[in-house]
């Protein structure tokens, strides 16, 4: 015995009793206050008053998939601009700063036009235009205090983090509760009138960073190759722009994107900690209520699927570590089978932990399983990756992955195993809900996706109701050889 197997050592002798689909939110219900402003912005507030601190999580329904054509990267730019704060804070002269930003855009346009004119009239024109642009940048810098907003937040012990994903952008703040009104004021002002300090510098740095990521970061590169080949009929093709598109983004473009993609109806906020619901409502109305409803951006273009068949094996040359990846297309999160993929992922992780007890060759216990990549709003993929061992070929990791898949399809999962997985899932979920950060994250996520924070319960219940038969069915339907694509990152001799 050494292959992955559906046994639970010793534990199989003990019938694990599972609590069943118990509610994880019934105790919260009396505390939670959720409301929606007239402009569509949604809030969920959970008072936890033992400690004078607050966590705020803001979800914006604008991820990399929502970027306008030809302007890829703008969501990540918005993430950077949020750190610069609103126009009203840190400016030496608001009117002068606004003019300087507009002048910068115009000057940038001149420069780009001069470059595109080529060698026609004046061959020094591009160089001169670039100098004028740089001068304009310096003039703009003189109208504000760089980094002022970040220092102000630091002064008030307000910590901030952010991330931009395929389906959404998420922002988190952790602050002393007596600074809550500062958050309401400054963030609402940013939505109304952001500053774009250091825009062009940030944009250039972002472009360099994306290029490097694509070349060296296996996750970024895998994501790209997956979309190009396996998900070419999915909305995720909207993420397939080139880093050079960043050169086309002006401040005016970013501003326009903000007012459409970051309009209040696209935003969901969860606040957990030392907060009074009534005051939260009052401030939400007082500050965020002033943010205009904005205009809906046009729907992203429907993807045009590639005519060529999805390759079975794709070899990709790139500069990072060698990775074997096996991907299977799967439906989005709203599909009934979504929970089954989560349970399969947990089972696989568990099997790898158990596999530490054997040394069967072709066992690899460092396989990474991702149930949905790059996101789960649209048709997506179930991904398994394994690093290539020095001296070994790509086959080695692929065989290890295959062993795991085969084990899943071979036998029906015993109830004891399934119950143990569900118990662990519940324990992890409760651990997350216990922390302000974890609960805010979960509530903002659920509220954002379904419009109702109570859906957190139904999401958990979906997992708790997964049966062994469901797992077998999903494995047979989706995780079969006919649907699989192998992507070998770092394969020698492969074209880019």
């Amino acid at each position: 015995m050494g292959k992955f197997s559906l046994r639970l050592p010793a534990l199989a002798m003990v019938l694990a009793t599972f609590a069943g689909a118990q509610s994880v939110t019934s105790g919260l219900a009396s505390k939670v206050d959720s409301f929606r402003l007239a402009n569509g912005m949604r809030f969920v507030v959970v008072p936890r008053n033992n400690s004078p601190s607050l966590t705020i999580r803001m979800y914006v329904a604008a991820g990399k998939t929502d970027e306008p054509l030809g302007k890829r990267g703008v969501t990540r730019l918005m993430e950077l601009m949020l750190r610069e704060g609103p126009l009203s804070i840190g400016s030496k002269d608001v009117t002068a700063e606004q003019s300087a930003m507009r002048a910068m855009d115009l000057s940038y346009d001149d420069w780009m036009n001069a470059r595109q004119s080529g060698l026609t009239a004046d061959r020094h024109a591009p160089q001169q235009a670039e100098i004028r642009f740089r001068v304009q940048k310096e003039r703009a810098k003189a109208t504000y205090r760089a980094g002022f907003f970040e220092r102000l937040l630091e002064q008030h012990s307000i910590r901030f983090s952010s991330s931009v994903q395929a389906d959404y952008s998420a922002f988190s703040w952790s602050l002393p509760s007596d600074r809550t009104e500062i958050w309401f004021k400054t963030q609402s002002e940013w939505l109304r009138q952001p500053s774009f300090r250091g825009f062009y510098e940030a944009r250039d740095k972002l472009k360099a960073s994306i290029i490097q990521e694509l070349d060296l970061n296996p996750s970024s590169r895998l994501e790209r190759e997956t979309i190009r080949t396996v998900l070419n009929d999915s909305q995720y093709t909207a993420m397939m722009g080139n880093p050079e598109e960043l050169d086309e983004i002006r401040i005016a473009d970013a501003e326009a994107f903000l007012h459409s993609a970051y309009r209040p109806a696209q935003i969901s906020v969860a606040m957990v900690g030392d907060i009074d619901s009534a005051r939260a409502r009052k401030w939400a109305d007082q500050y965020f209520g002033k943010v205009p409803a904005g205009t809906q951006q046009s729907a992203p273009p429907q993807p045009t699927p590639s005519q060529s068949a999805t390759p079975k094996t794709l070899e990709v040359a790139y500069g990072g570590p060698r990775i074997s990846a096996v991907v299977y297309p799967r439906p989005p999160r709203e599909h009934a089978d979504d929970a089954v993929f989560d349970v399969i992922t947990l089972w696989m992780k568990r099997e790898m932990a158990l596999a530490r007890e054997t040394l069967e060759e072709n066992h690899q216990t460092n396989i990474t399983v991702t149930p949905a990549q790059p996101g789960d709003r649209y048709k997506t993929v179930f991904t398994m990756t394994a690093p290539v061992i020095p001296g070994q070929s790509f086959d080695h990791g692929e065989q290890a992955i295959q062993s795991l898949i085969e084990a899943l399809g071979k036998e029906i999962l015993p109830d004891s195993t399934l119950n143990a997985i569900k118990t662990q899932t519940l324990a992890h979920l409760l651990e997350r809900m216990e922390t302000n950060q974890g609960l805010a994250d979960l509530l903002a996520d659920v509220q954002f996706r379904s419009g109702d924070w109570k859906a957190l319960d139904s999401e958990w219940k979906r997992i708790s109701q997964v049966t062994a038969a469901d797992i077998r069915r999903v494995a047979d339907t989706y995780l079969s050889d006919e649907h699989k694509t192998i992507i070998r990152l770092g394969a020698k001799g492969a074209g880019r």
């Binding site: 639970l8 050592p9 010793a10 534990l11 609590a19 118990q22 994880v24 105790g27 919260l28 505390k31 936890r48 008053n49 033992n50 400690s51 004078p52 601190s53 009203s88 804070i89 400016s91 030496k92 608001v94 002022f148 102000l152 002064q155 012990s157 002393p176 509760s177 007596d178 600074r179 009104e181 500062i182 004021k185 030392d274 530490r356 007890e357 040394l359 069967e360 060759e361 072709n362 066992h363 690899q364 216990t365 460092n366 394994a386 690093p387 061992i389 020095p390 001296g391 070994q392 080695h396 290890a400 143990a420 118990t423 662990q424 519940l426 324990a427 409760l430 651990e431 216990e434 922390t435």
Partner: protein, 725 residues
């Protein structure tokens, strides 16, 4: 001013010249950071010319409320019949529960000469499980219940934290109770505990600030007190089950513990702990303060990439609640009054303060000014710290600085106690110390009221004439010599002595048993004559090994000629490594390079030879080998070169089941390893040898080898063995 005498007394010994207390630096700090009560419209703010350049002066036009304070959650306090005190906070927000059991079974309770015992008890309990669920089964049971359990050993208290979904609460509490009353203490868990403590010893210098703190606390106790003596390797391996049980039954008792439990849980759920017997509690060890007669500098030389740490510790007696609060705020005041030159120095020296009022087990407190800095600036950093202390003691700080310090302290408090369970744990700790559970929160509430006068009053409680100054770091290359501090100096040894091998406990009867078992092994292998006539051996072994990236195929070729000529070739997908050793010298070849054997590799090869199965059998006849019998067919075998192995023999057949030993490493503690033998075959003429060897580390297999070909007493020559690739 009162503060001046303190400064002069301390400064006279720490600096070559005395300076008058400084005035507050001339900076624009007259306005408060937030104009409380000022209301301006947003439009007016936008139109106002020249907005404030400094973030501290920026007017957000908001009324900032007073900083909130951590609150003690409502709880019920009661005791069980066995004396266990319980603080119970029921909250049904989530179907989850947390428990913290605090037991007065810390490092100060260690038996004389066995400082490792408290840590080993905690480790062995956690890893060993209960009689009903031993070792891995205990972990599996916790997993099944969705529970977590961890132990932390402190100077005075061992903290056992557990959590689980509330549906499992009662079962988890029962498991904890069983752990306390029916611990399994399997040998594997005890040996793993020994290995862990050895690792802690190896790492004891890793945290410079912690080391400096320990060095600054130790001198307050007499040398006869084991408290805060550094843990050493010596003696750890001699600690066995008996010592661990004795410690547990003496200190892990309900009357010596407090349980804080919170979440979706009721009184009923915790009643199972009534089954924890009262036992007989030992008297608390007597710890008497014996402060130094004069301020002394303790210097520990340690090269840590140019980093250094220092602590200036001063006894603060037994301060009242307001004074405790004042000390906490004073700790945060440090550095707020630095002028530009000092700020620059602080920045270039990477000086970071981490001051604290520390409780001692005697009930006294000691105020520690402590920090990390560049090693070359230790003297200067201490001088800065002492000037700052003098300044604060004389009240030379502004109300704004005081407000900022309070703000910072309260912010840190909120971070340290984010949730009920941490706050309740703190209350339980106070109860265990004989104080009211609410007193912690009272200190926090007092901190809101602390005034300048409170700070100076508290700082005047300090006894600078009995200060302990401790520094650690590379003490050469100081910008200013330590002699500038003009203090009597003692050097502290930082090197970590290796342990001597522990001789097995063997009386004549035990020795006889050991010899009898080894005779049985030789008999099972084919008899004394056949085993003693093995003069050479050649084998090829194939299998798999776990490396960082995964499991890969591996093959070994081994050759041996008695007594000590040995060659091993290991082939992995990444290449081949060959080692040769003739009992005195050897070489290692890899990637076309050949180099002399490093000492730890020599140790490894010597160990391999020592543990050849027939050598283990023959050790029963070698007078130079020390034997001990450990029961159940387990024999301890040691030679005078430091080689040691535990051989576990099958109680029926006498064949070797497994061996347990340590493998020396290039740095750090040796690695604990276990080889398991199986698939014994006839090697010819009735000689039995094992052909399958699975190697374990940390409880998991790391190598599985099968002997494919072998030859005993063949035509192997020394020339063949020593031939270089």
């Amino acid at each position: 001013m009162k503060g001046t005498w303190l400064f002069l007394l301390l400064a006279a010994v720490l600096t070559p010249q005395t300076t008058a207390p400084r005035k507050a630096p001339a900076r624009a700090t007259t306005k408060s950071a937030q104009k409380i009560g000022t209301q301006k419209s947003e439009e007016a703010a936008k139109k106002a010319p020249a907005p404030a350049a400094s973030v501290t002066e920026y007017d957000l036009a908001l009324k900032i409320p007073p900083r909130g304070i951590v609150k003690l959650p409502p709880f019920e306090q009661f005791s069980l019949d066995n004396g266990l005190r319980i603080l119970l906070n029921t909250d049904h927000e989530l179907p989850q529960m947390h428990g913290t059991l605090l037991v007065r079974a810390g490092r100060i309770h260690a038996p004389d000469g066995m400082q490792a015992v408290p840590q080993m008890v905690a480790d062995a309990l956690r890893a060993g499980g209960t009689r009903g669920f031993v070792g891995q089964k205990f972990d599996d049971r916790l997993t099944e219940l969705g529970a977590k359990l961890q132990f932390d050993v402190g100077p005075v208290v061992t903290t056992i934290r557990f959590s689980a979904p509330s549906a499992s609460a009662e079962k988890v509490i029962e498991l904890v109770q069983k752990l306390l009353t029916e611990p399994a203490y399997p040998l594997e868990a005890i040996e793993a505990a020994q290995a862990h403590v050895h690792t802690l010893v190896d790492r004891r210098n890793n945290d410079l600030l912690q080391s400096a703190r320990n060095n600054a606390t130790r001198p307050y106790f007499s040398p006869a007190t084991p408290f805060f003596r550094p843990l050493e390797h010596e003696g750890i391996d001699g600690i066995g089950r008996e010592e661990l049980r004795d410690f547990q039954t003496s200190w892990y008792l309900p009357s010596n513990a407090v349980l804080a439990v919170s979440g979706d849980i009721s009184r009923q759920n915790v009643l199972t702990l009534s089954n924890w017997p009262r036992g007989t509690l030992r008297p608390e060890p007597k710890l008497l303060l014996a402060p130094p007669k004069a301020t002394t500098l303790y210097v520990a030389n340690l090269n840590k990439s140019g980093k250094g740490a220092f602590v200036v510790a001063m006894l603060a007696g037994r301060p009242a609640l307001r004074e405790v609060a004042a000390f906490h705020i004073a700790a945060e005041l440090f550095g707020r009054g630095f002028d530009t030159a000092e700020q620059n120095r602080q920045s270039s020296w990477e000086l970071v303060f981490d001051n604290h009022l520390e409780p001692l087990p005697t009930g006294d407190s000691v105020f520690q000014i402590r920090g990390t800095t560049r090693a070359s600036t230790l003297t200067g950093s201490i001088q800065i710290a002492m000037r700052e202390l003098s300044r604060l003691t004389s009240g030379d700080f502004t109300n704004q600085q005081l407000a900022q310090a309070k703000d910072q302290y309260l912010r840190k408090l909120a971070e340290r106690y984010p949730y009920r369970k941490e706050i309740l744990e703190d209350a339980a700790q106070l109860l265990l110390d004989g104080m009211k559970p609410e007193s912690g929160v009272q200190v926090w509430q007092e901190s809101l009221l602390v005034t300048k006068a409170d700070i100076t009053k508290a700082l005047h409680l300090l006894k600078p004439s009995q200060a302990v100054v401790s520094v650690i770091g590379e003490t050469f290359g100081q910008l200013q010599p330590f002699t500038d501090l003009r203090l009597p100096t003692e050097n502290i040894e930082t090197s970590i002595a290796a342990a001597r091998p522990v001789p097995p406990r063997s009386d004549a009867a035990g020795l006889e048993q050991a010899r009898r078992w080894l005779t049985k092994l030789r008999g099972a292998m084919g008899g004394d004559t056949k085993v003693s006539q093995i003069r050479s051996f050649r084998a090829t072994l194939n299998g798999t090994v776990r490396i960082r990236e995964g499991i890969v195929p591996v093959s070994f070729s081994q050759m041996w000629i008695a007594p000590n000529v040995f060659r091993q070739e290991q082939t992995l997908p990444s290449g081949k490594v060959t080692a040769f050793y003739d009992g005195k010298i050897g070489w290692l070849s890899a990637n076309q390079n050949i180099a002399a054997l490093l000492s730890h590799v020599v140790g490894q090869l010597q160990g391999n030879l020592f543990r050849l199965p027939w050598q283990i059998g023959l050790s029963g006849t070698d007078p130079k080998i020390t034997l001990g019998y450990l029961g159940s067919g387990t024999v301890l075998i040691q030679d005078d070169s430091g080689n040691s192995v535990r051989a576990f023999l099958d109680e029926e057949t006498g064949l070797l089941l497994r061996t347990r030993y340590t493998v020396p490493q290039a740095s750090g503690s040796p690695t604990q390893v276990e080889d398991r033998f199986s698939e014994w075959v006839d090697a010819g003429a009735g000689l039995q040898i094992p052909t399958r060897i699975v190697t374990f580390q940390g409880g998991y297999p790391v190598r599985d080898l099968k002997m494919e070909r072998f030859e005993i007493n063949g035509n192997l020559t020394i020339q063949e063995i020593e031939k270089k690739p």
